[in-house]
Structures are given as structure tokens and as C-alpha cells.
């Protein structure tokens, strides 16, 4: 794999103001993403996992600049994106695309498939003649496993899996280099998930795409990703190559998360020791002062409640914990 840096995120923060009181004023911030740093290399798949509310979707949306970051920097191939205006950003929007979680909500029900895919071509003026535009739409549909007859239909005529393929075709239309996939398969039935995952892997090989694969389904993330980052309460708690992370987690949260994943094997499932976390994720409005995981961590000591551990290098991987697991 080539080791060219494609995306670099440094100390990224996305906070949402919470208003209240009278007169209305800002009374606090939901720190959805609270100081996240990582790098993505060309052609790889970086998995981002975490439970609901950990900030993984906000992170993905901030990278495609659907949200403006509160602080921090995003570099795409050496160019800093955070200070760019919407107009200056347009060429980068072509390079970074997104596929959304809900295939029922992310396609405009009043537009035909050809209009949905064609819109992206129009915005970036990627054709000379109408015939060329039409041909390109047909070609994209075939690339994702649909047929050209589908072009004039509306989204409601398709199943969930087919809609997700339309979403992928729309993202591909502008020939992106990086695609942020925000839970692209979690709304689909098991038998359809595999179809979509196979399409994604084929496309990556064919067009040398880089993926940011956001998901909560750990077994799928392990399967599809080269490297994985684990998020908890707006922070990255661990980063490692996928095979190593699943073999030997270093952060207590990762350990608990992995032990909670259901295994489709009755013998293994009954033998293994599960770490059942107590309590629930604290509110991101008012995160704990020390380590974000300290309130639920079975190994927490005094320092964990006082000092937030930084993300440290540990033998080629990274972990944010005062007492990483041996």
C-alpha cells in the first residue's frame, strides 16, 4: 500500500451550542467531537467505531464540511480546508464525498435517479453534451450493480439495498478520492449488507478509493478496515491496525466493546468471559473532568478522574489511557 497522506485531522473540535434561559443565551456546549487527531493514507480504509453519541457521525460530517469545525484543522492532500469559504471549498467537495446512513432519507423522493446522480455532474460541470451526461449516469448505475432502466424511476420504487447503491453512485459521480461512509449498511437486512459491502470493496479496488468507514458493527469494521479508531464521548481512545486491535485491545473501553459483540457461534458465545460495563455513557454536555471513560472503567484509579490521558504512541499504535492493558 502506498503511504501517501490524503487526509490529516488535527485537534478537531465540533461543539454545538445549547441555548436556554431568558433572555435566550448559550448555556453550554455539546462537545460532540472534542479534540480528535488522525491521519488517513491513500487507498486505505479507516474504520471509525463507537456507540451512539460518541461523535463518529459528527466527525464524518465535519470532514466533508457539512458542519463547521469549532476548532482544529483538516488537511486534504496538503491543503488546509478549515479556513476556506464555501466557494473555495467546491473543488474539494468533489474530492471528498459522503454516503449517508439512511437510504430512505438521503434521496430526494421527488427526483428521479437520473436527476439525483446528474445533479452532482451539473454542479461540478463534468460533461460537455447532454448525451455525455446521460451516458455517464448509465455507466454509474451499472458500476454499482443497477441497470440503465432504473434511471427514470423514483427512489420509492427501490429497496433499501438498491437505494444505498444509488447513494454510492451519486458519491462516485464526481470521481472522488475519499469517501466518508456513514453507517452505510446498518439500515439494511443482513443478506443485503453483504451485497453492499462487496460493491464497496470492488469499487475501492477498481478506482483506488480511500474510505472512512463509520460504523457500530464491529465485526464488519474489522473485516473491511485496514486501521480502526475507537471513539468514546467525542474523543479517540484507541487507534490501531484492525487485526491487532481485535486481537489485543489496549484501552479498557475497546476491550469491553469487543467483548460485547455477539458471536454467531453458540460454543464460543457461551464460553467467553464478557465484560459487562456498568452504567451508561455520560452526557457530552457535561463530560467527566478526567478520562472520558473513567465513570464506567472497571480499572479506574484516582488519576483517571482528575487528568485526561493524551493519545500516546505505543509500539505503532495509539491509546489514550493512563493504564493501558498489558
Amino acid at each position: 500500500m502506498s503511504k501517501n497522506l490524503i487526509l490529516k485531522v488535527e485537534n478537531l473540535k465540533t461543539w454545538f451550542p445549547v441555548t436556554g434561559g431568558f433572555p435566550k443565551r448559550v448555556i453550554g456546549y455539546v462537545k460532540a467531537v472534542d479534540g480528535v487527531s488522525f491521519e488517513v493514507y491513500e487507498g486505505e480504509t479507516l474504520g471509525i467505531v463507537g456507540e451512539s453519541g460518541c461523535g463518529k457521525t459528527t466527525l464524518g460530517r465535519t470532514i466533508v464540511r457539512l458542519y463547521k469545525p469549532t476548532d482544529g484543522k483538516i488537511w486534504f492532500k496538503g491543503e488546509e480546508l478549515t479556513h476556506l469559504s464555501d466557494k473555495e471549498l467546491l473543488p474539494y467537495r468533489r474530492k471528498i464525498q459522503m454516503v449517508f446512513q439512511d437510504p430512505y432519507a438521503s434521496l430526494n423522493p421527488r427526483m428521479t435517479v437520473a436527476e439525483i446522480i446528474g445533479e452532482a455532474l451539473d454542479i461540478h460541470k463534468l460533461y460537455k453534451t447532454r448525451e455525455e451526461r446521460q451516458e455517464r449516469i448509465y455507466q454509474l448505475l451499472e458500476t454499482v450493480g443497477l441497470v440503465r432502466e432504473h434511471a427514470n424511476r423514483f427512489p420509492h420504487e427501490f429497496s433499501g439495498g438498491q437505494r444505498q447503491r444509488i447513494g454510492i453512485a451519486r458519491a462516485l459521480a464526481v470521481q472522488p478520492e475519499l469517501i466518508v461512509l456513514d453507517e452505510p449498511i446498518s439500515a439494511l437486512d443482513v443478506s443485503i449488507q453483504a451485497q453492499v459491502v462487496n460493491v464497496l470493496i470492488d469499487l475501492q479496488e477498481k478506482y483506488d478509493l480511500t474510505y472512512l468507514f463509520i460504523a457500530h458493527d464491529l465485526s464488519m469494521v474489522r473485516y473491511i478496515s485496514d486501521r480502526v479508531i475507537v471513539m468514546y464521548l467525542g474523543n479517540v481512545v484507541e487507534e490501531a491496525p484492525s487485526s491487532e486491535l481485535f486481537k489485543k485491545p489496549l484501552h479498557p473501553y475497546t476491550e469491553a466493546l469487543l467483548s460485547a459483540v455477539p458471536i454467531p457461534d453458540p460454543k464460543l458465545a457461551r464460553q467467553r468471559k464478557r465484560i459487562i460495563l456498568q452504567g451508561e455513557v455520560p452526557s457530552p454536555l457535561n463530560p467527566p473532568p478526567g478520562c472520558p471513560f473513567s465513570t464506567r472503567c472497571p480499572y479506574a484509579k484516582d488519576i483517571c478522574f482528575k487528568e485526561k490521558p493524551p493519545l500516546k504512541d505505543v509500539g505503532g499504535r495509539k491509546v489514550a489511557c493512563h493504564f493501558p492493558l498489558e
Binding site: 443478506s191 449488507q193 474489522r222 473485516y223 466493546l257 455477539p262 454467531p264 458465545a269 457461551r270
Partner: protein
């Protein structure tokens, strides 16, 4: 005798577009203290099966045929009043979505008191409150005294599902039906809830029907598994043989569509081609045949009959050819 015996259950929905045979001739049984897992994708009829047992299927749906024998009595013959005496007391149900299955305008305590007023052993209000506190404690809710006067919105998803479980076990039912109780929850909370359900099942020796689309969730919990596809049972057997040696092509496909722990991207997942059938006009013969890699001519013509061995039931012509018919089914 089995605690629950469902025979040839047929629940149809009469829509303007046509008749949807959501459950079409399904038979199974559950013994006392046994955990039956029902697995299937959306539209397979697993939830409608559960609703039919509780007799909660609403218009335009109707159970048009079959028998539901619970402890010797056919529930389908009971009047609404008689059936109400069974709900909660003998058969209880936990629904999928903990966000919508509690009434948002009533306190959690009200939900519990309403149910506990049906328990003849609890005479005074204090008895009922004590029992409610005891139940909330049993499902792992801290500060139960305070929690009783709170409303559902003050509970998180996992906590609401715990309340639902407390309500379900309040009257010591013989059979507990759980319809995707952990689907809306995060994995770590799912693990908490599964641990709780296991503990309660063992403690009260309850029979449980556990409905899910996630094969992983059922593997560690069920004694027996029934796989459904498009309104029909396709396979049933004990949990070990289903997972180690799936016989129906659909079960095999489902198991190979999820990545195994030692798999990497060089091995592709098995993707079942096509999509689940339109239930208004399901394919003739075996409903899985248009997506089945082993489909033969007979599969498109005749509905498969039960094949397999005595503790295994498979509805597939290919298995029928290889193993022969099951005695007594």
C-alpha cells in the same frame, strides 16, 4: 406436553393492494423453561407470529387459521375478556422499541401499579409499591424509590428496556415473548440487557421466545432456533446444530453473509442475490427458490415438505432428497 404449541398458524393482512400472507402455516412448540429463538429478516413474519400469540394483531390483519394451544387451551377460541386474563399474567411480551412502548404521559410507577393491581396477593398500596421497588431492583435500576415517580423520558433507552422487562416479569408469567428487545440499543447496553434476561430466565425458569434478526445475539442464549423466511419456517433445530451444520440454503447464506472473526477482505462475503419477495405475490413453491443457488425444477412448483432427522426440521427439496422426510411432522 409442551407449554405452547402453535399449529399451522396463518395471519394475513387484507390490504387494498392485496392479501399479505405475513405468517403462512407456521408450526412450532415451546416447552417450559425453554428458550426458543426465532430468526429472520424484516418481513419474514417473526414479529407477526409473536403478535398472533398475544392476539394483538390489528386491522387489517387477522389470524385466519391454525391453533395456538397454551397450556392445553386454544387461545384463538377465547373471548377478548378471557384473553386479557392471559396477557401479562401467563404470557408477557417485551417489544422492540423501548422509546414508544411506555406511555409518555404516565410515570413509570403508574405503569407498574396498574399491572400489579392484578396481583391478588398484593392487597394494600404499600404492598404494591414494595413489589414495584423490588422488581426495579431485580432488573438493575438504581434508586428505584425515586425512579417510580419519574416519566419515561427521564430514562435512557437501556433503562426503559429494563422497565419493560420488569413489567413483563411482574406477574410471573410462564411464557415471555421478546421481540427484538436489544435491536434499538448499543452493543454494550445490549450485552447488559442480554445478561439480565439470561439471569431472569434461569431464576424463574421461564419459557422464552426470543425474536431477532441478529444470529449472534441468539447463539449464546437460545436452546432451539427457528429460522423464518417470507412467512414460513425454513429450518428448526437445536442451537448447536443450526450454527454448526446449517442445512437450509437460506440459513447457510445468512451465516456466511456476516464476517467471521478470522476473515479478511481477500475472502468475499457471500451475498444472497436479489431481495426478499413481495409478500402480496410471493414466488410459488419454495419462497426462497429465486435467490437459492441450488434451486431445482421442483422448487418452483411445490412447497417443500419437512425433511431432516427427529431433532431437525428443514423445509427444502434438496435436503429432502438427501435426508428424507421427518417422521410425525
Amino acid at each position: 406436553m409442551a407449554l405452547l404449541e402453535v399449529r399451522n398458524l396463518q395471519t394475513y393482512f387484507f390490504t387494498y393492494a392485496g392479501v399479505v400472507k405475513a405468517v403462512d402455516g407456521v408450526s412450532f412448540s415451546v416447552d417450559r423453561g425453554e428458550v426458543l429463538g426465532i430468526v429472520g429478516e424484516s418481513g419474514s413474519g417473526k414479529s407477526v407470529t409473536a403478535m398472533s400469540i398475544m392476539r394483538l394483531v390489528q386491522q387489517p390483519g387477522k389470524t385466519v387459521g391454525g391453533e395456538i394451544i397454551f397450556d392445553g387451551i386454544n387461545l384463538l377460541n377465547l373471548s377478548d375478556r378471557e384473553m386479557n386474563a392471559y396477557r401479562g399474567k401467563r404470557i408477557a411480551m417485551v417489544f422492540q422499541d423501548p422509546m414508544t412502548s411506555l406511555n409518555p404521559t404516565l410515570t413509570v410507577g403508574y405503569h407498574m401499579m396498574e399491572l400489579l393491581s392484578r396481583d391478588p396477593n398484593l392487597k394494600t398500596k404499600k404492598d404494591k409499591i414494595d413489589r414495584a421497588i423490588e422488581l426495579l431492583k431485580a432488573v438493575g435500576i438504581s434508586e428505584p424509590e425515586k425512579r417510580l415517580s419519574q416519566y419515561p423520558y427521564q430514562f435512557s433507552g437501556g433503562m426503559r428496556q429494563r422497565v419493560m422487562i420488569a413489567l413483563a416479569i411482574a406477574l410471573n408469567p410462564d411464557l415471555l415473548i421478546m421481540d427484538e428487545p436489544t435491536t434499538a440499543l448499543d452493543v454494550t447496553v445490549q450485552a447488559q440487557i442480554m445478561e439480565l434476561v439470561k439471569e431472569i430466565q434461569e431464576k424463574y425458569h421461564m419459557a422464552v421466545i426470543f425474536i431477532t434478526h441478529d444470529l449472534g445475539v441468539i447463539a449464546g442464549f437460545a436452546d432451539r432456533v427457528m429460522v423464518m423466511y417470507a412467512g414460513k419456517k425454513v429450518e428448526e433445530g437445536d442451537v448447536y446444530s443450526i450454527f454448526e451444520n446449517p442445512l437450509h440454503p437460506y440459513t447457510q447464506a445468512l451465516l456466511s453473509a456476516v464476517p467471521k472473526l478470522d476473515m479478511d477482505r481477500s475472502q468475499r462475503l457471500y451475498a444472497i442475490p436479489g431481495s426478499p419477495p413481495n409478500m402480496i405475490a410471493p414466488p410459488p413453491g419454495c419462497r426462497f427458490h429465486p435467490r437459492c443457488p441450488y434451486a431445482m425444477r421442483i422448487c418452483a412448483k411445490k412447497i417443500p415438505i419437512a425433511a431432516g432427522t427427529d431433532n431437525r426440521e428443514v423445509y427444502c427439496w434438496k435436503v429432502f432428497k438427501e435426508m428424507g422426510v421427518v417422521e410425525g411432522v
